[in-house]
Symmetry: C2
Subunit: 311 residues, 2 copies
Amino acid sequence: MNIKELGGEFQFINRIKKKSKNKNVIVDIGDDCAVTEYNEDSYHLYTTDMLVEGDHFSLDYFSPYQIGIKVMESNTSDIAAMGGKPVYSLISISLKEDTTVEFIDGVYNGINEICERYNFDLIGGDTTHGEKIVISLTLIGQVDKNKLKMRSDAEIGDLIVVSGPLGGSTAGLKLFLNNIDGFDNIKKYHTNPISEIKNLPKILPVAKAMEDVSDGLASEIRNICKMSKVGAKIFREKIPLNKGIKKSSSLLDDDPYDYALFGGEDFKLVYTVNKKDRHKIYGTVVGEIINGEKILLDGKELKNYGYDHFS
Amino acid sequence: MNIKELGGEFQFINRIKKKSKNKNVIVDIGDDCAVTEYNEDSYHLYTTDMLVEGDHFSLDYFSPYQIGIKVMESNTSDIAAMGGKPVYSLISISLKEDTTVEFIDGVYNGINEICERYNFDLIGGDTTHGEKIVISLTLIGQVDKNKLKMRSDAEIGDLIVVSGPLGGSTAGLKLFLNNIDGFDNIKKYHTNPISEIKNLPKILPVAKAMEDVSDGLASEIRNICKMSKVGAKIFREKIPLNKGIKKSSSLLDDDPYDYALFGGEDFKLVYTVNKKDRHKIYGTVVGEIINGEKILLDGKELKNYGYDHFS
């Protein structure tokens, strides 16, 4: 049986998951980050991502600088999803023999810009070569114990909130893939994503279960529901969309809400909030946590979810 | 200018190195691991490696289990080189669409075996797909502050010691590459390496500067000398060789000492020892630290060093 037949990435992670024996491991595989004891007041967070040329970024429309930005922000987003801030990073890169030094310097300019944006360090790495550029980043973060957010803390009656507009990354990708000129502001949603690290102070005081929108809103809400053993009802037209994507999606006969629901890589946060905190919400309410295990989109059960590398 | 012209991996790492601003970063890029403050008594160690199919392992002669073993032991070796023990690991893997579940289970059996061998946990990971199998491992270790070993602590007059026999990994690789049957014990040096974690208690009490032999003994001694601002004299015939490789290398008209000096991936430790501790040495003396910056092999300056991914 090959990976495709097994049914996708999520199942595969479950397959390899083993319960940690170390009592310092608070959360292992299954959330945005692993969580370990650090000191009396805080935990360490660990996340790792591998980006492959042609899959996660294309050299046709990503500048080296933008590749650096994207690899870093997609990982800071996982740290944000747990309520933390990045502290250290390690980067491994596989280069092609004809990769230029200018290319590398561009990638590292992007990486260093994000290190400075959030004030953390690149402390190690490995360089090798292959037939495609592959970048693997490990990010170590830190979170106050009382601020840790997990996927498993949603409760029936909670409101479901997204921290900002969605769909832009997929809108940009579609424009690139269809060779449509212009729309530079929309293409930037795809090439220059920004995680929610800086908005955390406005989100953390009311957030219960939380996750970042890396695989599409539908998929993230499903993850929260699975881990919290609840269901959800969400409403398509309540989802805030990035500016301009209604226009660009109509050119391609696409539904921009599909970009938000099933596209991914927007790196906003989706989180649940107790109704009594409704007035303190940062973002937009898109639905509510309900009893059961179904995800209802406009009252109809959702069967298909976000982008999955092997489905 | 491309990477090849720039002159190899070592220079490239220097190129991207930036001094960390965080006072908790004790050592950043440039040693086997990055070192950060952990608690009053100990540091955290961080190392990452990327292994690419066809370069670091071949599916022609590596079983999936052996790939798992190799990716883990090559990284535990970096932790050992700093005097520490592994605590947590994160693994990212790029699979091909036709990769079988049996293959993955084999890789993870190898990985889990090493986690059990040294009693540490796999706490996170990422799965994606590409045209080649690429595995990136990040290992987090811990070391008592008074046991930390760095490359930069060699002093003139120190003896240079290797902790065990060398050359076996390259001997095995050459047998595979030349399609020579038999010699299974030698091939295992290449496919089933074992790092020196378990021998550390015998090495740490006398070791000063230390590094693991991942790129060939000559290259490792050069690194120690560069970081310690000293030279070295070493002697070819003092180098201990793995059993049987004189015979296998003669079949291929190779010098087995070249395997040890320039081959790499033996994952033994090379370290320096004050002469007064000569009687406490675990391993074999292969030379001595001298004034200057030259590395002398049998009295002649060495100009070419170990395997380098881009030279």
